[in-house]
Assembly symmetry: C2
Homo-oligomer: 229 residues x 2
Amino acid sequence: MGTDNKKTAADTTGRIRLENKERIIKAAEKIFAKNGFRGATTADIAAAAELPKANIHYYFGTKEDLYRAVLDEIVALWVSSFREIKHDDDPASTLADYIRAKMELSKNRPHASRVFANELIRGAPRMKDYLEGALKEWVEEKAGIMDQWIEEGRMAPVNTRTLIFHIWAMTQTWADFEVQWTAILGTGDHLGDAEYEEATNAIISMVLRSCGLIPVPPRMTETEMKLTV
Amino acid sequence: MGTDNKKTAADTTGRIRLENKERIIKAAEKIFAKNGFRGATTADIAAAAELPKANIHYYFGTKEDLYRAVLDEIVALWVSSFREIKHDDDPASTLADYIRAKMELSKNRPHASRVFANELIRGAPRMKDYLEGALKEWVEEKAGIMDQWIEEGRMAPVNTRTLIFHIWAMTQTWADFEVQWTAILGTGDHLGDAEYEEATNAIISMVLRSCGLIPVPPRMTETEMKLTV
DNA sequence: GTCTATAGAGAGATAGAC
DNA sequence: GTCTATCTCTCTATAGAC
């Protein structure tokens, strides 16, 4: 019985512990996204998590440790958006799928995107290893495959590394600078599914057209001339 | 004589005053760029300006006032990058020139770009007026002109507002996320002229190709076949 | 494991000598 | 106009009651 009690207690503790840690990380992601590491306060995070401030330190020790836990989750999320691009894959659908996956991430995890952005703007003091390691490797490998596609005439010549960077820039801007796009488009406080869909299609069109993977549609007067003649 | 002395003193004072204010704003731009409004400290700004902390408050009153002065300068800089796009202008060279101007700004004023980025990530509490006012107007007007170009068959059909947003995203990312690009490209601590030139050309090619303003180069095997046949 | 109360460091801001 | 010394408030972190 003593063992049983201990077991049950341990299980419960573990579950509560995990739930609370996850709850704190989610709250921290939001606060760090808005104010950056130095601008965020543990009091704000505690309020967002609806827990006393001391619990934050009980679970994570220091603000620094909590921030690293948040970054770790985000890096895992970023890595999960990587695609296993292979030599035999179809260039057009591979690029389109990757752009769609990145846009899903911007739409569903905007706070994560902003924490990442904040960290990069600061000079990435806590992420240099990741940037120079896993991320660089992924880019090298995938750009290499795309370079082969180009060599084999399956895609028009472009700088493939730069292409990847620009895909990141265009997809992440919809999360990071959302307020700018809502202000200009006049779509209230947040971007809706319609805006994301249109943006996704615009990025896919731009990338595929410029890589010669889909035709650039004819100019309008040409079309109209065909219709009228 | 008394008038002369007063005049000279006033001139000197005015000059020193302006010089110091400008010196503090430049230092503040750097510190705010790195840490955002809440993360930046007046002590850091004073250190960067090589002035005692009290001088910051003597010239600007509060940290908030100083931040607004920095934002005002940046908004003026952004507005100066606007181009008077006119109906009769050539679409290809107009877009290329605008992209070049934006890239010059990223290269020469990366801190300004990052302060702007920080403010947007935070939800732009101090810039909503600008976003919903002057910026929105500029976009409406310029997108309208481009829509005319499309109607007149001078450009392939695209969503022109989204095109502007994506040009901003691609050009500003080279300043805001510089550390990511240097880490992946392995170009040391900073991007050089070579990287900026290549990036500029890549963005121009992508935009002009996707708008049907320059041809997409043939795929390599086609070229090679022509050469070998 | 939870939370109040508080210590100690660091922030913004200012008074007042120069 | 310049700068040191200092006030006050807020922040991180922890001790200790429950």
